[in-house]
């Protein structure tokens, strides 16, 4: 718990993506398709570890929560395929969602991998007494 918060502090203080990470981005950026890691089916393969700081730096947390679970819309559990996710964030259909078309495909695949790696912290509502009591109240109405 502490580390999550400490990390968030770091994110908010950071003024730009760390140089080490930007280097990786430049390499994977607009370069030839061959430079981008792909799986057997020709899909770009993402790296969750690289994706986490990108998720934070690109302010995904501002609407979707520090770990993609709060805010709206919720990203965890992820319901889109990687392809649909990348297509969407590069050309969003809602006004609220920023356009990430300038972000390299590899980085978006990394962010996708990170979101997919998050285990939801979502006990059933009925098992949470505070929520269950609201549900009970609704049933009475």
């Amino acid at each position: 718990m502490r580390t999550a918060l400490a990390r968030i502090r770091g994110v908010l203080k950071r003024t730009a993506i760390p140089a080490a990470l930007t280097g990786a981005l430049v390499l994977s950026g607009g370069g030839p398709a061959g430079a981008i890691p792909q799986d057997a089916a020709g899909n770009v393969t993402g790296n969750a570890e690289r994706g986490r700081p990108m998720f934070e730096s690109y302010k995904c947390y501002a609407c979707h929560g520090y770990e993609g679970e709060t805010g709206s819309p919720r990203l965890v559990p992820m319901t889109l395929t990687q392809e649909a996710f990348i297509a969407y964030v590069r050309s969003p259909r809602t006004l609220g969602m920023p356009n990430y078309s300038s972000v390299p495909v590899q980085t978006l695949a990394d962010i996708y991998a990170y979101i997919e790696s998050i285990t939801p912290d979502a006990p059933p509502a009925e098992s949470i007494p505070l929520l269950n009591s609201v549900l009970e109240e609704l049933e009475e109405d």
Binding site: M1, R2, A4, L5, I8, R9, L12, K13, T15, A16, I17, S57, Y58, K59, Y61, A62, C63, G65, Y66, E67, E69, T70, G71, S72, R74, V76, L95, G96, M97, P98, N99, Y100, S101, S102, V103, P120, D121, A122, P123, P124, A125, I128, L130, L131, S133, V134, L135, E137, L138, D141
Partner: protein, 638 residues
């Protein structure tokens, strides 16, 4: 107060002794009259290098009027009468930040009025004073007053006055200045046309030049403020006028207050509206700022039930005058495309018109604002092409509209409407339950999720007669999902002008109105919001205003992070930079310590969600005992 001994040693005169001698000096002046007279009567002393100022000089420098001290028996001062006028209007509180331009009224409130009705509420910023009036009026149904120093105080107050106006809430604002300024200090605090500074966002302003005119203007201003569409009024008072002697107070008369009845919709127009609504297949009622009274709240339920139509209270901006657990609360479900939209006290229906027309539908607006519009910054650019425009007060028009709807509803139509209502109720119930379940995501996360924060709070107050006195802002949807807003006083509306900085002082103002009523006032405010007028925490502590203030501390202006990110995305650059100018992290701000510094009980910063329930419980113990308390919750952004 807590000066260290070292500080005292540094000075020749210890601070406490200075106050003693200053008080003795003041007493001597009071006893002898103006210093000039005293000087003339005594032999000339050897002149010191630096002369102490004369009373006249000192008063002129401080911006005072230089009037003589001490009224004889049976005589009074004009400002005493002014206080009597304010009392006649049943004004309980006057929020002030002091200034010499209104020293006369200030002193009269204390020594003539005994500091009751109005009781002085000490504010550390005029915006807080103006905004307290805003929150207070909505919670109590009647205005309180605030008093500002010429120019400087009024400009500080401007933002609070503007939002009160934009929210159509009554307040009595008073500003004073010197019509005949005499010094380098009071000249900038005076103006040829003081009201002009805020005229664009008060309903009416006046500068009465005599005492009789002051009385008439105050009473008239009260009526103007309270006549729909309600709004703040401003009285400009000359400091010389305040200081005039009144030889025979009995010669002065306070006019009786005669309130105007609120405008009701024209009979034929109301009949036409009822016909459109009863015939509609999918009517939708949208609410703005409707119910001033709990009767209005009850009437609104009657109308919705008579029509079996969904009631959409909106998010930001409105007052949400409909029970949040009523089966008709909502917008009818995902597939409900309204063919008639009725807006009640909804000043901007441009979006509704677009929406209705897209389905070939029609729109009706009942709003007092069609009767009165400011010219400059009032709903700038808002013209809605309504099919039926009724210039009348929504709340006052409800009874006749309900009656017409009932008259036009045949038993057969009634059965159809009930069937429709039952379907809407089922759709709403399903959506409501699903929305509550959403709260479980990130339940144990730190920083604390917004639903967790609201659910922990609900648990602590569910058996209280609570009142949410802050606006909808950024936690509103979760409040609506978890808490049962089943009475008019459960929610006190929003800022009106979408200006940040409203929630904290408005919460204190509304809590002042709720003090002594048995209601438990709760404000959930953004960290950004609280930073505009943090001094209001001291006001709450000093005046023992019971209020639980919860800080939704997401360490910055998160709304703006998202906005800058969107622009960067559009422009395809710097998508990792949008926190610049938008976050408070280096250093972090502790709102718990801030509250402590202002003398208010506080808890936090709380980062672990499991600590939240007990912290709320401890804070609420204080609030229930009559004090304010603050809980600083480090939370997820949204």
């Amino acid at each position: 107060m807590s000066e260290s001994p070292q500080d005292n040693k540094k000075r020749n005169v210890p601070r406490r002794d200075f106050f003693k001698s200053a008080a003795a000096g003041a007493a001597a002046i009071a006893a002898t009259g103006p210093a000039e007279t005293a000087e003339a009567a005594s032999p000339a002393p050897a002149r010191p290098a630096v002369l102490p100022p004369t009373v006249a000089q000192a008063q002129a420098e401080l911006g005072g009027s230089g009037a003589q001290v001490g009224a004889g028996p049976g005589r009074g001062f004009a400002s005493d009468f002014m206080v009597d006028v304010l009392r006649s209007l049943d004004i309980d509180y006057a929020a002030i930040n002091p200034g010499s331009s209104f020293e006369g009224i200030h002193e009269s409130m204390i020594n003539h009025g005994g500091n009751t009705r109005p009781e002085i509420i000490t504010c550390l910023h005029e915006e807080a004073a103006a905004t307290m009036c805003h929150g207070y009026a909505k919670a109590s149904g009647k205005p309180m007053m605030a008093m500002f120093h010429g120019t400087v105080g009024l400009l500080h107050a401007g933002m609070g006055i503007f939002q009160c106006w934009a929210d159509r809430v009554p307040a009595i604002y008073l500003v004073a200045h010197n019509r005949n300024p005499t010094s380098v200090v009071n000249r900038p605090h005076s103006a040829q046309d003081m009201g002009a500074l805020v005229r664009d966002f008060v309903k009416w302003d006046d500068e009465p030049t005599t005492l009789e005119r002051f009385a008439a203007s105050a009473v008239r201003g009260y009526r103007i403020a309270m006549t729909p569409p309600r709004g703040p009024v401003l009285l400009v008072v000359d400091s010389g006028l305040q200081d005039m002697r009144v030889e025979d107070p009995s010669s002065l008369r306070i006019p009786e207050l005669s309130m105007a009845s609120p405008p009701q919709g024209d009979t034929n127009a109301v009949r036409e509206a009822a016909r459109m609504l009863v015939d509609a297949e999918r009517p939708l009622i949208r609410l703005g700022k409707l119910a001033w009274t709990s009767e209005g709240w009850d009437r609104m339920i009657e109308l919705a039930e008579a029509l079996q139509a969904p009631v959409d209270v909106g998010g930001y901006g409105g007052w949400a005058d409909f029970p949040s657990r009523h089966p008709l609360y909502g917008s009818g479900g995902p597939d409900y495309a309204p063919d008639v939209i009725l807006g009640l006290e909804l000043n901007d229906m441009t979006g509704d018109v677009r929406r209705a027309r897209a389905n070939g539908g029609r729109t009706i607006g009942v709003c007092a604002e069609y009767l009165f519009q400011g010219s400059n910054i009032h709903d700038f650019g808002n013209y809605a092409e309504l099919d039926l425009t009724i210039a009348a007060d929504g709340e006052a028009t409800l009874p006749s509209l309900i009656e017409e709807v009932r008259r036009l509803t045949t038993p057969e139509r009634r059965r159809e409407l009930e069937e429709r209502g039952a379907g809407i109720g089922r759709a709403h119930a399903a959506a409501r339950t699903a929305a509550v379940r959403e709260g479980r995501f990130g339940w144990n996360k730190s920083p604390v999720s917004v639903p967790r924060m609201v659910a922990e709070l609900r648990e602590q107050v569910r058996n209280d007669d609570w009142a949410m006195v802050s606006g909808y802002q950024f936690t509103g949807p979760w409040q609506r999902r978890f808490l049962n807003f089943d009475r008019r006083h459960r929610y006190n509306g929003d800022s009106g002008g979408f200006g940040i900085g409203y929630d904290s002082p408005a919460s204190v103002g509304a809590a002042l109105a709720n003090k002594g009523t048995g209601r438990l006032s709760i404000g959930i405010v953004g960290d950004g919001d609280l930073n505009f007028s943090p001094g209001v925490l001291w006001t709450a502590a000093h005046h023992r205003i019971p209020l639980l203030l919860v800080v939704h501390n997401n360490r910055g202006y998160h709304a703006e992070v998202m906005i800058v990110e969107r622009v960067a995305g559009r422009r395809g650059r710097g998508l990792d930079q949008s926190h610049i100018g938008n976050v408070f992290v280096d250093p972090e701000i502790s709102y718990a310590k801030m509250a402590e510094g202002y003398g208010m009980y506080s808890e936090g910063p709380i980062e672990n969600p499991d600590d939240l329930g007990p912290a709320f419980a401890r804070a609420l113990e204080r609030v229930r005992a009559g004090e304010p308390a603050l809980v600083d919750v480090v939370s997820q952004p949204r």
